[in-house]
Amino acid sequence: MTRRRQLLGVMAVAALLGTAAVGCGGSDDGASADGSVTLEFAQWWAPELPAGSFDKLMTEFTAQNPNIKVKLLSGPYASTKQQLVSGAASKTLPDVVGLDGAWVNDFAKQGAIADLSALMTDANYDQNQLASQIQIQGTTYMIPVVNFVYPLFVNNDLLSKAGVTTPPSTRTEFLDAAKKVTALGGNVKGWALPLDTAVPNGIQNDVMSWLWASGGTMLTKDGKPDLTSAQVKSTIEYVKSLNDADVIAPGSLTMKEQDKVEKFTTGQVGMVIDSLAHINLIKKNNPSLNFTVLPLPAEDSYTGKRGIPYASWGIGVADSSEHKAEAFKLVEFLMSKEKNAELSTLANGFPGNKTAEPDFSNSDPLFKTAFDIYQAGYPANEFVGLPKSEDLMRSFDEQLQLTLTGKQSADHTLSKAQEDWASVL
């Protein structure tokens, strides 16, 4: 009898565990007995904002929409990406998702994110207030909530110590300034170029930015790669000339973005192309660093508007969500004039709503300077919306590394990259 009881007990535990394990794979539709809906919102924004500020915004949303609760799933950018890639594959994405423009095409192709054009129409949403929308074949899948631009950060003290009196505005002036800063000696170099292939966004932010600043493009009008064009070749040859002049901080082939920021913060490099989002971090880590932000240098003969690279905190809705209308209410809330301005101010970015005006009164004056640069030029990031954009950056990165290490010519690099990209685009 005792034995039978033991056996039954073990079987019961096993059955319970089995049920629990299988149950883990099931999904909850987010609706509770009282008729309220709980939306899951996965993003990397909350950890990058002042503590508690994003939760406060969500509380305000819930106050305005008592039947909708929001459960924030917050994590760093990289882990959020992995979570979303897995969720997209298994069709278990949270209801609302923070998106990077580089992911949109792949998620849309998988049918993981919803058609926002239809949701906007259903909700009678005025699309004219949006600064931009990320579309795939005419359908919107992502709305940029906050934009972060990448101007040129310049260490004023190093440049003046090196005898650079005029801020570099052209490629020639930049090379000259970088040479002079490098000539200061020690561990100081003129520029930092992060080409780590694990996260190859250095190609977007630090290489192609030179192309966009001169009004160039890496794509044809019909969206095909155009890497063998004279403009792209000029860009690559310019980057190589900086490398040959030994003005780039050593270790660039495996340098990560955070290494670049660290080197600029510690005064080891005179100039970097970096996100405005890092201004506070730099000032926190080195309050005495005297630096400013400038438009990216362009080709010497270029007089047109300058493209400035940007990254966005984008938002989308999961196609598998059973509460798309409620999810879009959250999107509407974050894109409203008042809240979008508030969020942009908190994030030190530029609003995705054209009518929103960020409050720079309590911000660092550099944000106002950057806003002026942003308004004088145009946001440029041709990787946004491309399929497998990270893979495209990586394949270009690997080819560029071969050129910088003298293993192949710039022409060969571009024709090989063109071949790689053509198989994707």
């Binding site: 073990v10 394990a21 990406k81 049918g111 292939t197 690997e398």
Partner: protein
């Protein structure tokens, strides 16, 4: 014979209900039930583990294997069976072959170095030439690398091996070198630098295991060897090594398996670069899945890694059985 007898036997008088009833209930359980209870009980006890293994291991492995035979899996709704096409793609991909070669170098050098360093430090900690306090201090120092998480190890070594980091500072200041070395970004040095970091991070586990093995060797064996005229070197080769052999082989096989699965350290230090010289099977598979969204080829690569690991696991299990 018995049945014939029964056929011709006179009909038995009806038995009283009170007597028959217990007999009909007791008859089937009897031997069969005891047998079932006896043979089923172990499975009952094992069933929680078996269910978990089935749900968390068998199902994912079967899914990955099935993905490896399909095209456009996960990213498209209707994937099709393509046979071994993904395996052909992977096995003819120069990046995969480079990753295979790099992984071989990485795990072989790491394992040999782990064994040699682990044995050396274990012998030092087991010696009678040092006092107990000295050995305790060194034991703590030596085990420190094992206590750090991979993320911390990656950050520490990235900072130390930075072109303007501590290692280059020491080499240029004390070592008389003119210029610092790009340890992790020079294609000629990155794989060795990465292997060094992995050796540093992993040797304490070998040291502790071998030390436990050393402390289990009977002093009588050394005494007998000494009486036979064997010196310290002879004793090491003829007593210590044979006695440690099962531990050393088991540890080596396990280390080969573990190191072949190393991902986080590589990803956080070099990311497979520069110029793919530190690309390993793990990073190659990750990039296929999470960067190229080629889950089918990623699955094929993962199955190949699984097969290679199973060969090692087979030797490990066989060794364990021999013991």
């Amino acid at each position: 014979m018995n049945s014939a007898k029964l056929d011709h036997a006179p009909p038995a008088p009806p038995a009283p209900v009170a007597v028959v009833a217990p007999q009909t209930r007791a008859a089937p359980p009897g031997r069969a039930r005891r047998f079932l209870a006896k043979s089923g009980a172990p499975f009952g006890y094992l069933s929680p583990t078996m269910i978990l293994i089935f749900v968390l291991m068998i199902i994912p492995i079967v899914m990955v294997i099935s993905y490896s035979f399909k095209d456009n899996v996960i990213v498209q709704q209707n994937s099709v069976f393509v046979g071994f096409a993904n395996y052909t793609t992977v096995l003819t991909d120069p990046d995969f072959l480079a990753a295979l070669k790099n992984t071989f170098v990485f795990i072989t050098v790491s394992t040999v170095a782990h064994l040699v360093l682990g044995l050396g430090f274990a012998l030092m900690l087991n010696t009678s030439l040092l006092s107990g306090w000295t050995k305790a201090i060194f034991r703590i120092i030596y085990i420190l690398p094992w206590l750090f998480t991979v993320a911390v190890i990656a950050v520490i070594w990235r900072l130390m091996l930075d072109p303007s980091g501590v290692v280059n500072y020491l080499l240029t200041t004390l070592g008389g070198m003119q210029e610092g070395v790009n340890w992790l970004s020079d294609p000629g040095k990155a794989l060795w630098a990465l292997t060094f970091i992995n050796i540093w991070a992993g040797f304490p586990f070998f040291m502790i295991s071998i030390l436990a093995g050393l402390q289990g060797i009977s002093g009588d064996l050394y005494e007998a060897a000494s009486v036979d005229g064997a010196g310290p070197v002879r004793q090491f080769w003829n007593v210590t090594i044979p006695q440690l052999r099962p531990v050393l082989i088991s540890m080596a096989v396990l280390d080969l398996i573990w190191t072949s699965q190393q991902f986080a350290l590589i990803w956080m230090t070099t990311g497979g670069g520069p110029l793919n010289v530190t690309e390993m099977l793990s990073t190659y598979t990750y990039k296929q899945a999470f960067s190229s969204y080629e889950f089918a080829t990623a699955s094929a690569a993962a199955v190949i890694v699984l097969l290679l690991t199973m060969v090692l696991a087979f030797f490990y299990v066989r060794l364990q059985k021999e013991r």
